[in-house]
Amino acid sequence: MKNLENPFSVLKATEFTNEEIKEYWVDFGHGKNSVFNFLNPTTDLPKYLLGSKGTGKTHILKYASYPLQKLKANNDFNKILEEKYIGLYYELYGYNASRFKGKGIDQDQWNTVFEYYLDLFLADKLLKTYSEFFDFFKVNDDLLQSVLKGINNLFNQTESPLECKSIKELIDYISLLRKKIDSEINNVAFTRKFNLSEIKSLFTPGDLIFGIPELISQQVIQLKDVKIIYILDEIEKLEEWQKVYINTLVWDKRKPVTFWLGMRTWGYTTWTTKSTELIRDGHEFNKIDLDSFISNNQELYPEFVSNLCVNRLTKYFSKRGISIEAKNIKKDFEDKFEQYSEESVVEYFSNLGKRKELAHITKLKEKLKYVIKPEKAINSFVAKLIDDEENVLFQKYKFFKFYKDWYNLDSDNKRLKRQWTLENIMFAINDEFRKYKTGSNSIVFEEIVDKRKKDFIAQICVENNEPARNIEHSGIDSFIERSQCNPRNFLMILMKCVEIGNLRNEKTLEPEGKVSLETQYRALYDTAEWFYKTIEIKGEEAKKLYDSLQFLSDILKLYRYCDKPTETSVFGFSITHEDLSNEAKRQIGDMETYSIIVKDIKGRKERNTSREENRYFLNKTLCPLWGLPIKKRGILDLNRETANLIFNYTLKNQFESSYKKIRSKLVAPFLKEELTNSSQNTLDF
């Protein structure tokens, strides 16, 4: 067992040893909520376990596999068999499936070689595993010879009958056959032709992997009715035609064999079999979507990931000879996280405002140059609008109202003649705000405060180049929410907290340690960046996806950081699917598959037409990259034009002009001329 300096640093089950898989195992829930309740190994129906990266597929599948069965049973094979199954885990990454193509060889030949090789690949571990059971149960030689005879007969006997006298001999023989194929594949690029005598199929596809368990189940009493589960992980690494063969095996499976297939959600791409029959969810297999399962059981997710965290910490401390009760570990750890407070942020910037001019004031002065002449009048105008108000947030409320009223002025008049109007607005705002401050009824400002407070705090932080102060929500519970039902995202945030905290000398895991808000912000930002950079999409599709994500985040950021926000705390959008082009629909589908956006299961009716609308939210893990909120309040209604510009890559060149049009309505001085001013960087605020 590794003695980790950072208890959260292992983020992939593939990096764990079998002992660690067992030690770090945490079930999603108990009883009916256990993962193994729906992945029930005693049922015959194959399972397709789908999930985005980091949902824990490999950990689950490995936990169900034979090496773990042995560990859990302390090598007591009788105990293993009480589970009535043996799980044979295969990681298809190591199988190197991509080598079965090209090199001047006809695809039909590759198909045959792949099928043959896969059967040998599966049979190898199958025989090695059975062999351990035979040894444990001291299976007598007569029985063994009978089994071997049966297996020998599974091979084509026409030319030279196979006469393996022991399981080891059989395993060696299969290994030799694999080596011959390996050699042929490695050299075929030069020979451009397979040597048939080396690669000739000696059995019918499926005969070994189904035939051997069938035979042994019938002949070896201890293994009667013991299911063999071929657990094939990382199916997404296979080519489409290879997946078709796997589907065919699933279709053709014979008792006591069944399959569990683990794959990324985006890797689930075909239901076809070689006979062109389609396998169907609920009939030939059960699809288990981990993302949906976790989202549908969101009330269980916080406890599940908390347990993951406590489990890691318990191991960390016990390896250092420190024994702490689990409930104390949790509490001690939670207490280390500095709590975010809006009041502190406002106080900090209000004090800063006494020493220097804050960005929102400078920005307003700049914008007023378009409408107030001479320029020297601007300072006194802004001073009057501020009206000695020192609270930076109150200033922002007033400025917002000012921007809003400015926008509403009749745009037909020449702007330079409007000074008197702006002055009237300014005085009216001051009168109204005094009412609010003195507790008199000011519906206008009460509404502004209710709807805009969080957005304006975010704006203050970002405008003054201190985005880290706007963490908005801190501590473990907020990390759970930000992880968007993905355990790896959650562990990554914790790993970063410890790593960055240590660099900042916060001694995170020591008794006096803490995790400052700065560290928490960095951990969230770094996790977001990691998530962004490791989206598993390649080539042209990747370009399209990243373009759409940039456009979407540009729009969401604009609505949060503009002068005159019209929506409250947006990080989601609603669209009517009928309005979308096919390309835009496909793109939204892709973004959902890769967990960039998350669909809100509760759709809604469009206000005017009552058409069904779909609501999507940006994955909360990504939100820190653009300083977006994570609590659902407002939602952006994307009209047909904007939605298609964001999600349809064929229209990407038109996005910028459309963005400028939207921006000109949200950002002072609300100039339509800006649309033609190509030199201005309109993506700045």
Binding site: N465, P467, E499, L503, R504, N505, Y532, A542, P624
Partner: protein, 320 residues
């Protein structure tokens, strides 16, 4: 991939991220979080604001530090042999043979030249020159042990106590070292031996090649007319001086990063670390370190150890 629309991280975090990535790669096993924190904690002034500004500015300098690890040094050693030594000789040979492209002829002549060449490790057996010879030989297949000698093996005394050339057949000596700062150290180490060699055989070719050198240091040594040539694989021009107006490190402006201010901080602490040479020997103001040592021309805030100062890059000082 479009990443330009991200909210920008605060500068301190951007710098820490950069430093962390170095710690995981080129500085691995060299600098850990404790060393980094201890070093940053050297910069503690009486007021919190100033303390933070000092730390930020020093962190900025650290993020610009050039550290040449084993891999980088090996690459430079390859370049030294290929670009400074072999290529000019090949060019001359080709010219002499009427711009020939016949490899066999060129190789034949080059072998003759190579046969009369010795690569000399400057200084004693435990000094940087000698330490470089092992990887120098490993990285350049053509060189064998017989092509390398120590500086102390160039001359010998005859029975009458007079100096004479130990290997009279040698026509070319290539003195190898890691670094030239002001040039004074090279001069001190080599002047006597090189002058003796020249007196004994005025036709000798005497070259001084290093991995890295300052432009000023090279000029200083070339002015002496001691060597046939003095060259470096990588030359540090004036822009590598941390606090000069043309400093390459301050080309982009960052909020809170101030060249003049950083210079004052480096001077303030440097005074207690390297008396009268607060910005490094010869006022070189370098941000440079090697796997095997840190030159004293580098800012002392990085390597100093006086008065409880915690260094971040170790400088091994030669014991007398």
């Amino acid at each position: 991939m479009a990443i330009e629309n991200f909210i920008e991280l605060p500068l301190k975090d951007q710098l820490l991220k950069k430093v962390e990535s170095y710690m995981k790669s080129i500085w691995i096993n060299r600098i850990d979080k404790n060393k980094l924190n201890n070093w940053l904690n050297n910069f503690e002034d009486s007021t919190i604001d100033i303390d933070e500004k000092e730390k930020l500015n020093m962190l900025f300098l650290l993020s610009k530090f050039s550290f040449l690890g084993d891999n980088e040094i090996r690459s430079l050693l390859k370049c030294l042999f290929r670009d400074l030594f072999k290529r000019p000789i090949i060019q001359r040979i080709r010219k002499e043979l009427g711009d020939t492209l016949v490899l066999e002829d060129i190789n034949k002549k080059f072998s003759v030249e190579f046969e009369v060449t010795k690569f000399v490790a400057i200084g004693g057996v435990s000094e940087s020159g000698a330490m470089l010879m092992y990887p120098f030989r490993q990285e350049n297949d053509e060189i064998s042990e017989k092509n390398i000698i120590l500086q102390s093996e160039i001359l010998k005394e005859n029975i009458g106590g007079q100096k004479e050339i130990a290997l009279p057949s040698v026509q070319r000596y290539i003195f190898i070292d890691d670094f030239i700062g002001t040039g004074s150290q090279g001069k001190d180490k080599l002047k006597k031996d090189v002058e003796s060699l020249k007196n004994l055989n005025k036709n000798l070719e005497l070259c001084y090649y290093v991995l890295v050198a300052t432009e000023d240091g090279l000029e200083e040594l070339n002015k002496l007319n001691l060597f046939t040539s003095v060259e470096a694989v990588f030359v540090l021009d004036g822009t590598f001086k941390a606090f000069e107006e043309e400093s390459r490190y301050y080309k982009t402006t960052h909020n809170g990063i101030d060249r003049e201010y950083a210079k004052k901080v480096a001077e303030k602490y440097g005074q207690t670390l390297f008396y009268t040479q607060e910005l490094g020997f010869g006022d070189c103001q370098l941000l440079l370190g090697f796997d095997h040592n840190t030159p004293d021309n580098t800012l002392p805030i990085f390597w100093g150890e006086e008065n409880g100062w915690k260094y971040i890059f170790k400088r091994f000082i030669k014991k007398a």
